[in-house]
C-alpha cells in the first residue's frame, strides 16, 4: 500500500437536465502501477456532493462501484459419474468483470430499486452478463451464484455494505482494497447518488491499472515476441543450470 496524492478532480455532472445534486470526486490515485513488488493496493475514493438548490427531502444514499476489465469465461459444475467427480454442465458467460467492488452507505436492497439496478448494472449479478446461457443449463442462477462465491472468496468481487461514509449529506469517502492478483486494464469507477431507491445522479471516472517497468517489458515481450521470449526463458534456464553445476564443482575442488 502506498499513499498517493490527489490526482483527479473533475466536474462531470450526469443527467444535467434534472440533476440538482452533482458529485465532485476525488481519488487517492487514478493509476495503479503493478511493479515487481506489487502486493495489492488500497484505493481511497472520496468527494463531495454539490448542490445548486436546497436539499430535496428523503434520506440520501451513495453507492460506489469499481469494475475491472470484462472477460468471457466458462463456469463448470462437477457431477459424480462412475464414482469420480467430473466436469459435467458448463455455462458460458459472455462478460464477467475480472474485478468488481460495490461499496454503499447501507445494504443495497434497502437503498436501490430493481429498475435502476437493471439500468445501471450495479449489483454483482447484474454486472455479470450470461448472454445465451439459458439454453445450456436450466439453473443458470446457480452458476452465477457460484461465480460470485468463488470470486468473493478470492477478494476479486467485494460487497462492502456500509463502507461508504457520508458526513452531513455532503462529504463521502470509502476505501477499496485491490487484491494482489490484479488484471491489467481500465477500471471504470462509478458513483451513484440515491434517494428513495432511485438513482438521482451519477459520476463516472476511470482508474488505469498498468504493469510498469520490467513487468511491463516482460509482459509485452511475451505477447509480441513469443518465440524470442520462449528462447530467452530457455537461455536463462540453461545458464542457471550450468552456472549452478560449475559453481558447485568449484566449491568441491576448493
Amino acid at each position: 500500500m502506498r499513499a498517493l496524492l490527489i490526482a483527479l478532480l473533475s466536474f462531470l455532472p450526469f443527467l444535467p437536465a434534472v440533476a440538482e445534486e452533482t458529485v465532485v470526486l476525488g481519488l487517492s490515485q487514478d493509476k495503479v502501477s503493478i511493479t515487481t513488488r506489487f502486493d495489492g493496493s488500497n484505493l481511497l475514493i472520496f468527494g463531495a456532493i454539490k448542490r445548486e438548490a436546497p436539499m430535496p427531502d428523503g434520506p440520501l444514499d451513495l453507492i460506489v462501484t469499481l469494475a475491472g476489465p470484462t472477460q468471457a469465461i466458462t463456469v463448470r459444475r462437477k457431477e459424480r459419474r462412475f464414482g469420480i467427480w467430473v466436469n459435467a454442465e458448463a455455462v458460458p458467460m459472455s462478460q464477467a468483470p475480472a474485478f468488481y467492488a460495490v461499496a454503499s452507505t447501507a445494504p443495497l436492497p434497502e437503498i436501490l430499486n430493481n429498475v435502476d439496478d437493471l439500468r445501471h448494472t450495479i449489483t454483482i449479478p447484474r454486472a455479470i452478463r450470461a448472454v445465451g446461457a439459458t439454453s445450456v443449463a436450466q439453473d443458470v442462477e446457480n452458476f452465477i451464484d457460484a461465480l460470485v462465491r468463488i470470486r468473493m472468496n478470492k477478494g476479486q468481487y467485494q460487497i462492502l455494505e456500509g463502507a461508504v461514509r457520508l458526513d452531513e449529506d455532503t462529504l463521502f469517502r470509502t476505501e477499496i482494497t485491490l487484491p494482489s492478483a490484479l488484471t491489467e486494464g481500465v477500471y471504470p469507477t462509478r458513483i451513484f447518488l440515491l434517494r428513495n431507491g432511485a438513482v438521482v445522479a451519477r459520476h463516472d471516472a476511470v482508474i488505469n491499472v498498468q504493469k510498469e517497468g520490467i513487468e511491463r517489458s516482460l509482459f509485452e515481450m511475451s505477447r509480441e515476441q513469443p518465440l524470442l521470449y520462449g528462447i530467452l526463458s530457455l537461455v536463462i534456464a540453461v545458464a542457471a543450470g550450468w552456472g549452478a553445476s560449475a559453481f558447485f564443482r568449484m566449491i568441491r575442488q576448493a
Binding site: 463456469v75 468463488i150 509482459f219 513469443p226 526463458s233 540453461v238 543450470g241 550450468w242
Partner: protein
C-alpha cells in the same frame, strides 16, 4: 518477500517459490525425474493459474535437468546414443499430445484426464517398482552382496534394427526405445511433465538398462522434451512466466546438485524404493481428490488465454 509475477498476474512469496524449486530440484538430481509431477500440483496449490503452472514449469525442468545432467556427464553415466533414440520418439509423441491437450481443454475435461493419467500411471509404476525393489533389497540382504546380473532375453531382443549401446552394455533393436520415447512424449505433453517418472521405470524394466545410467540418460531426454514444450507453450498459449521460472530454477538448480551428490551415497535399490514411495504418495493423494466430494463443485475458466 512478496513478488509480482507478470504473466500469472498475481503476487506471491519469493522465498516460498525458491523453496519449492529447491525441494523439487533435490528429487530431480536424486532420481533423474524432472519433478514436474510434483511441482505442477504444488503450483496449483499456491494459486498459480494451471495453464501458467504447466507452461512455466517446463522451463524450470530445463534448468534442473541441465544442472543434473552435467553432474552425470562428468561421472560418465549418460548413454547419449540411447538418449538420442529416446528423444526422437519423444519429440514425435509430443506433437499429437499437444493437439490432444488443446482438444480436451476446449471440452473442459483436461483436468480430469490429467488427473486420471496421473493416478493410473503413478499407481502402476509406483506399485510395480515398490514390489520389485523391495524384493531386490531382500535378495541383496540374503546373499550379502550385489544380486547376480541376469541376462534378459525377451521380445525386446527379437526385433530387427539392432544397435549397440555401449554405455548401457546393450545390443537391442531401436524399435522399443523409440516406442518408449513416443509414449513418454505423448503422455508428458498431456500431463505437463517431463515424463521422467515414466521414463525411468521404462528404461529399467522394459529396456533393462543399468540403474546408474538410467538417471543421466533420462535427464538428457527430459532436457530436450521440456525445452520443446516450453517453446510451444510460450508461442501458442503465452503461459511461460519468466519471473516465476527464474525463482523456481534458482532453487531447482541448487537442489539438483545436492540431489546428485545424495544419489552417490544411496544404493540403487534404496533409490528405487524411495522413488516408488514418492510416486505412490502422489497417486493416493490424487485418487482421493477424484473420489472425495469436492468442497466447491463449480469452477471458473477463461475462454481463450488464461
Amino acid at each position: 518477500m512478496q513478488i509480482y509475477l507478470p504473466i500469472a498476474e498475481m503476487a506471491t512469496n519469493a522465498l516460498l517459490l525458491l523453496g519449492l524449486g529447491g525441494f523439487v530440484g533435490v528429487l530431480s538430481g536424486l532420481f533423474g525425474v524432472g519433478g514436474g509431477f510434483l511441482l505442477t500440483p504444488l503450483l496449483f496449490f499456491i494459486g498459480v493459474p494451471p495453464a501458467v503452472a504447466v507452461g512455466t514449469q517446463s522451463s524450470q525442468i530445463v534448468a534442473s535437468s541441465v544442472s543434473g545432467l552435467l553432474a552425470h556427464l562428468r561421472r560418465k553415466t549418460v548413454d547419449l546414443k540411447m538418449g538420442s533414440v529416446l528423444l526422437v520418439g519423444g519429440l514425435a509423441g509430443a506433437l499429437p499430445g499437444v493437439m490432444l491437450f488443446a482438444w480436451l481443454k476446449s471440452i473442459g475435461q483436461v483436468d480430469l484426464v490429467v488427473q486420471l493419467c496421473y493416478v493410473v500411471f503413478l499407481g502402476i509404476i509406483g506399485g510395480l517398482m515398490f514390489i520389485e525393489s523391495l524384493a531386490a533389497l531382500r535378495r541383496a540382504k540374503k546373499s550379502g552382496g550385489a544380486p547376480a546380473r541376469r541376462r534378459y532375453r525377451n521380445w525386446v531382443h527379437t526385433m530387427p534394427l539392432k544397435m549397440r549401446f555401449r554405455v548401457s552394455g546393450l545390443y537391442i533393436s531401436i524399435i522399443p526405445p523409440v516406442l518408449v520415447g513416443f509414449a513418454v512424449g505423448l503422455l508428458s505433453s498431456i500431463m505437463g511433465v517431463g515424463g521422467g517418472f515414466i521414463m525411468v521405470p521404462a528404461m529399467i524394466y522394459i529396456l533393462h538398462m543399468p540403474t546408474k545410467v538410467v538417471v543421466g540418460t533420462s535427464l538428457f531426454q527430459i532436457l530436450f522434451v521440456a525445452a520443446f514444450t516450453a517453446i510451444l507453450h510460450a508461442t501458442t498459449n503465452y503461459t511461460v512466466d519468466i519471473v516465476l521460472a527464474l525463482l523456481l530454477l534458482i532453487g531447482g538448480v541448487i537442489g539438483a546438485q545436492f540431489g546428485a551428490q545424495l544419489a552417490v551415497w544411496l544404493r540403487a535399490e534404496q533409490l528405487r524404493i524411495l522413488l516408488a514411495g514418492m510416486v505412490l504418495l502422489v497417486c493416493f493423494k490424487l485418487a482421493f481428490d477424484l473420489v472425495l466430494t469436492p468442497s466447491e463443485l463449480y469452477s471458473v475458466s477463461a475462454v481463450g488465454g488464461h
